[in-house]
């Protein structure tokens, strides 16, 4: 049983997806290669499942993406509640190794995200499922893709002072947007590719005013692409229309030069897909002019 798309997709990638009895907490459609597999597995809830809905599946393991779902104050249940019923839990290291989840909400990252936590999660889940070779192969493949993306970016001879902002969404279109802080997955991407994040916050997704973003005038704007439609700004087309229409954002260098990258929203979370986002970004930067 899984709580969180990231844990689900890693188990699918290890070739043991058939053992999953139910999934929950989805942000995007599953990766295309798992579409058929995923269609045959029950989705307990799109968002948070209830404790009983999870334990009723009588799982041998509950694999969890976020500690705020299953942790000391978990919204689904605490780990102790699962363990009392003899159900082991595993929380992905990307969310529990380098974060303080006692701060409420989705916690606070205390040290910068690195893909090492993803590789650790894959290796440990592979050990739990007794498919260590599949885990090692997956880690090797992801490490190679990560190295290629960094190498490609280095070969591009990007400007030394290249700067960017990652815009995830906004509670309302013109309101202060959720943008990436320095310690999350987008911060890792920018660090790896030698890009300065104009947002100085250590929070994972702080809300920062357009005034501050416009004054910082980043060279590149990365906007999240997602299927979710809860906020108008979830729609990438509406994000682009706002950037081009607003009297201030339309004057930003990135907008005027057309340097806007669309990226899968799930890649902006601390997941396996972060590496795919890194690839996407380095490829798109190669198509841009910085003269």
């Amino acid at each position: 049983m899984t709580i969180g798309q990231s844990a689900t997709e890693i188990i699918y990638s290890l070739g043991v997806g058939e053992t999953v009895s139910g999934t929950s907490v989805w942000f995007n459609p599953t990766l295309p290669e798992f579409k058929a597999l995923n269609a045959g597995i029950e989705r307990i809830a799109d968002n948070d499942p209830s404790f009983e809905a999870v334990v009723n599946k009588k799982p041998d393991l509950v694999a969890v993406q976020y500690e705020w779902h299953v942790g000391a104050t978990g919204s689904v249940a605490t780990r102790g509640q699962f363990h009392e019923l003899g159900i082991p839990t595993y929380i992905m290291p990307a969310d529990c190794d380098t974060k303080d989840n006692s701060t409420g909400g989705d916690g606070t990252r205390v040290t910068a995200f690195s893909t090492d936590s993803i590789y650790k999660g894959i290796t440990e889940l592979a050990a739990i499922y007794d498919v260590k070779n599949a885990g090692a192969d997956l880690v090797d493949s992801l490490k190679a893709r990560e190295a290629d993306a960094v190498e490609r970016a280095e070969s591009l001879d990007l400007p030394d002072d290249l700067s960017a902002v990652f815009w995830f969404s906004s509670a309302d279109l013109e309101i202060d947007p959720y943008v990436a802080g320095r310690l999350g997955a987008p911060g890792y991407m920018m660090d790896k590719l030698g890009i300065e994040n104009v947002i100085e916050s250590n929070e994972e997704w702080p809300t920062v005013g357009w005034e501050s973003i416009a004054k910082a005038d980043p060279d590149v704007i990365v906007v999240a692409r997602m299927d979710r439609r809860r906020f108008p700004a979830d729609d990438v087309e509406k994000k682009l229309a706002f950037l081009r229409k607003d009297p201030v954002t339309s004057q930003m260098t990135a907008v005027q030069e057309g340097r806007i990258v669309q990226m899968d929203a799930h890649a902006m979370s601390a997941t396996m897909r972060t590496i795919f986002g890194l690839e996407e970004l380095s490829e798109t930067l190669g198509e841009m002019s910085f003269d």
Binding site: G105, A171, D176, P206, W210, E211, S212, V248, Q251
Partner: protein, 355 residues
Amino acid sequence: MQSALVLQAVTSPRLRWLWLTPLVLLSALIAGTAIGETRIPVETVLKVLANRLWGAGYPVDRIDEGIVWSYRLSRAIVAASCGAGLALAGVVLQALLRNPLAEPFLMGISAGASTGAVAVTVAGIGAGAITLSMGAFAGATLAFGLVVMLAHAATGGAGGGRGLQAAGAIILSGIAGSQLFNALTAFIIAKSANAEQARGIMFWLLGNLSGVRWEDVVLAVPAAVGGLLVCLWHMRALDAFTFGADSAASLGIAVRPVRGILIATTALVTAVMVSMVGAIGFVGLVIPHAMRFIVGSRHARLVPASALAGAVFLIGSDILSRILVPGQVLPIGVITSLIGAPAFALILIRGTGAR
């Protein structure tokens, strides 16, 4: 007759200070435009204003010009309008309900607006086609309608002769309505919000002017000015209501229609303001009381003084919300409540002492 009274009130020697109003308001607006999240020299701000207002043609950075004109000035004007509108709503409700703790949010308007906003952003009603503001406005008007209907049913359609009973019924109905809509808000958040949505909506529930643009000015200014004119037009009635509906009736005030006009104006102005900037508390409570200390209880003075003070107070609160924590904008409701909550406590203690 009414306009003559208004003119007479404004030209009386004790109200000469009213002519300072545009100056004070202008200074507050310039301060709100000059101070923000980022540092823009005052000289640049003045050049932008000169360019835009008189076509002066000073060379100014395009982003600076956009920030000053499109973000900050519109924000300051909307803040002023909201402050004035909410303060006026407090003046009217305190007079009509003869209750020193009455304010717009007592009518369930804020709670309804919150439910509407949450329904749009968290529950996904409208699938992105309905904006948060539209949801808030719908929720605010729905809640107000329910509260008025409940109060009407509770008093059996009581008129002016049972004014105190009607006033009590509307307060209790407002509390019931607020509780109902707060519960609905909590239900929707508990049912479907993830951490990001909960954070987003909580930020809005505490008030937020960051999304304000010139389109909002077009709505906010007429609402505030309209509210002010209605209050000025009925200042004699407001004075009379302070002594109770029976006294007002004996003074020749048509109690039911006048009360209806004033409550409807209050609800409309509050719903418009809350739908634009979120639930900013305590302005309607604190400002009228503070102004009563300074200018007295006569509505000829209290109405314009509260409108001006509300405008300046909210511009000042907005400035504080932007500069108090470097690199972060606080919800404006945090600032107004930090000032308003102690003031609320003082009023409560004073009320107890008086008994």
